[in-house]
Symmetry: C2
Subunit: 148 residues, 2 copies
């Protein structure tokens, strides 16, 4: 009954899009960005900018390097992003006098104030997800350790 698949029977299961963790992750990440977009538009932030602001709301000032460590991004991504946040008046950037290689990124009053508007976002997003709180936590922790 069973038969060894000939070359023409490919793709094998392993290459089917449906079986790819990578595609599930890719699609979920794209959909998540779309879910945030309308809320972040109201704050004048993009999705990666929002993540950078989360880091700064926890601790400001921070060096570019420290931000990069927290977000797992390097300066070629962060520098232009931070310049846009600076242009929007949310942060200030200046060289560290103690080590001129470093650039210190600090929230402005406007940047700190934006946190108040952001506070409603997690709740709204949780509702949009329509998923038990515990399941969200489980998934989040699983993703944190994925490929790391």
């Amino acid at each position: 009954m069973s038969q060894k698949p000939a070359s023409s029977d490919r793709p094998p299961e392993a290459l089917r899009l449906d079986n790819q963790l990578c595609f599930a992750l890719y699609g979920a990440a794209n959909r998540m960005t779309r879910l945030y977009r309308p809320m972040l538009d109201a704050l004048g932030l993009t999705y990666p900018q929002y993540l950078a602001m989360l880091v700064l709301w926890e601790a400001s000032p921070r060096t570019v390097g420290a931000l990069g460590d927290a977000l797992d991004l390097d300066s070629s991504t962060l520098t232009p992003l931070l310049k846009r946040l600076e242009a929007g008046g949310l942060v200030e950037r200046h060289r560290d006098p103690d080590d001129e290689r470093r650039v210190i990124v600090a929230l402005t009053d406007k940047g700190r104030a934006l946190r108040d508007q952001a506070e409603t976002i997690p709740e709204k997003l949780f509702c949009a997800l329509d998923m038990p709180l515990e399941a969200v936590g489980t998934l989040r922790e699983r993703l944190k350790t994925l490929a790391k």
Copy 2:
């Protein structure tokens, strides 16, 4: 003992980066792309190009719209990507004679042949993940339904 957090005690738990499903997803997706990159470089493909090829290896030819449905991308993303695949000789694009609005994307012999080289990728990636097969499947299915 307990105290109501004052305004200065923010950010509240809800805004902490550690608690964000969106950031876990963002980071995992970035890391996944990095994990694939060396393998895909060998095939001359980017990560989204690889996903498009997976779709075509399952069924070619397909219209741009059908590819977009499968990948959840629209023509503004796909058209340039497909032009690059065409420039690389992996696909051909031509208008559907039965409906001149549609563009049909078909694998070339070279595009079909690339599948042989791609076949080793899922196994290599699974090893790199270092995660039980069942856990990969569970995570994948969970992600498929996330925010959809």
